[in-house]
Assembly symmetry: C2
Homo-oligomer: 242 residues x 2
C-alpha cells in the first residue's frame, strides 16, 4: 500500500502539523483542572435524561450566532487521529429544503409499506421529521478522504472517520439541549439524494440530517416510548463479561 | 422485502412494546423540567474541552459499581428507532486481554511500516493504547440484527445502528470524565480478531475497544497535538451553506 504513505507525505511537505502546532494552541499551565463536582454531575445526568430526538418544533428563529457557537463546541468532539472529518452543511435554500423533504416522504412511504399489518397504523401516526417547522437544518457529512490526522488510527477501521462525526453530532445535540434547543436526527432518507440536492462532494459520507429549533415541549421520556412504538430496556441484556 | 415485515411481526406477537410500556416508565408530570443555567453550561463546555482520549492510566481499580452506573448512563444515548443496539463486553480474562493486545501490536506494526519516511519516527514514539495499565477494558459492539425498534429509521441507513452505539460510547466517555475517569478508544485493531478472542456473535459489528481508568494526567489539549502529530483546525473549513 505504497499510496498510503505517499498521500500523507505530500501533505507533510505542504503543511507540517508541527509548524502549525503553535504555542498559543497549548494549554496555559496556570489554568486549573476543572472540578466536576456532584451537583454538576447530577445536572449532567439530567441533561442526558432530558435530551430528546425532537420532531415538533416552534418556528421561532434561533439567537444570532448560536448555531455557529454550537458547531464550534461540536468540533471539541473526539476524532480518530485528530482528523476532525466533520462537515456541516447549513441547508437554507427553500428549493433544496423542498427536495430533501420530498426525499424523506418517498423513503417514509416505502417504510410504511414494509410495516407488518399490526404496526402499520401506529407507524403512520408517528411524526418522523420536523422539516416544515425547524428554523435550522443541517446535513452532516464525513470526509473519509481528509489527509488531516495522517491516517492515524483508521487503517483497519476506516469507518472510525464516520464515528468521529457521530460524536460531533452528539456533542452538538447535548450542547444545544443545554441551551433549550431541540435536535431531531432524520435517517429515513436516501443519502445519495441528499448529496445531489446539496451539491457537495460525492465522496463525502452522509451521516444524518438534523432539524434544529426550540421544541414545542420538553420531556424525559423518548417520543417513541410515549407513542407506544418501543420502550427502553435498560442495561440487563447489553452487558457481557468475558 | 416481505422478510422485513415478517421479522418484526414475529416479535410483535411475542413482545408488544405497548404492553411493556408501563406507566412506571412514563415521566412523573410533577417533575420539573431541569433548568440548564449559565454556570452549568460553562462547566459542560469545560467537560467537552477537558475530555481526552487517554493512553496513560494509573493501575488503581475503579470504585465498586461505578462502571455499571456509567454504562447505565450510556444507555440514555439516542438510538435509531429506540433500538438500543449497544452491547458492552467487559474484557476481564487475562488470556483474552493478551490476545487483543497482540492484535493491536500486529496492526500497529503494520501501520508503522506504512508511514512516510518523515513521519515514521514520530509515529513510533506515540503511545496508542493503554491496555497494560487500564483496569477496565470494554469491547463495544452494535447488534444490527436486533428486532428492538421494529426497524424504524434504519431501512435506508442500516449504519445508524452503529451510529447509535457510537453515541452511547461518547455518553459513557463524558460521564466517565465527569467522575475523573479517563477513556481511550483504540481503533488500531482487527475487528474480526477481537470478535474471535471474545467469543461473541459473529454478526455483531465491532465499534471500538475502550481502555478505562484514572488518567496519569489531565489536560485540555489533545495528546496528538501535544505530541506534534496533528493540531486542531477549528470550524473555518467545516461549515458550508447551501
Amino acid at each position: 500500500m505504497k499510496a498510503f504513505g505517499e498521500q500523507y507525505q505530500q501533505r507533510s511537505a505542504r503543511d507540517p502539523a508541527t509548524e502549525n502546532d503553535a504555542p498559543s494552541q497549548r494549554r496555559d499551565p496556570r489554568e486549573p483542572v476543572p472540578d466536576f463536582d456532584t451537583p454538576f454531575r447530577a445536572k449532567l445526568y439530567d441533561l442526558l435524561r432530558w435530551r430528546r430526538d425532537v420532531r415538533r418544533f416552534k418556528r421561532d428563529p434561533l439567537p444570532e450566532g448560536l448555531i455557529d457557537r454550537l458547531l464550534g463546541l461540536a468540533c471539541l468532539a473526539p476524532s480518530v487521529g485528530l482528523s476532525e472529518p466533520w462537515r456541516f452543511v447549513l441547508v437554507e435554500d427553500p428549493a433544496r429544503r423542498a427536495a430533501i423533504r420530498t426525499n424523506f416522504e418517498t423513503c417514509n412511504a416505502e417504510a410504511l409499506s414494509m410495516q407488518s399489518p399490526d404496526r402499520a397504523a401506529l407507524y403512520a401516526r408517528l411524526k418522523l421529521q420536523g422539516m416544515d417547522e425547524a428554523p435550522v437544518q443541517i446535513a452532516v457529512y464525513a470526509d473519509r478522504e481528509t489527509v488531516q490526522g495522517y491516517g492515524l488510527g483508521r487503517i483497519t477501521m476506516p469507518e472510525t472517520i464516520d464515528y468521529s462525526v457521530v460524536t460531533a453530532v452528539h456533542t452538538f445535540w447535548l450542547a444545544a439541549r443545554a441551551e433549550g434547543i431541540g435536535v431531531g436526527w432524520v435517517s429515513i432518507i436516501d443519502p445519495a439524494g441528499v448529496t445531489a440536492a446539496l451539491d457537495v462532494p460525492q465522496d463525502w459520507i452522509f451521516i444524518g440530517y438534523l432539524c434544529v429549533g426550540y421544541p414545542q415541549a420538553e420531556d424525559d421520556t423518548p417520543t417513541l416510548q410515549r407513542a407506544g412504538w418501543e420502550h427502553r430496556h435498560g442495561t440487563g441484556d447489553v452487558i457481557l463479561r468475558r
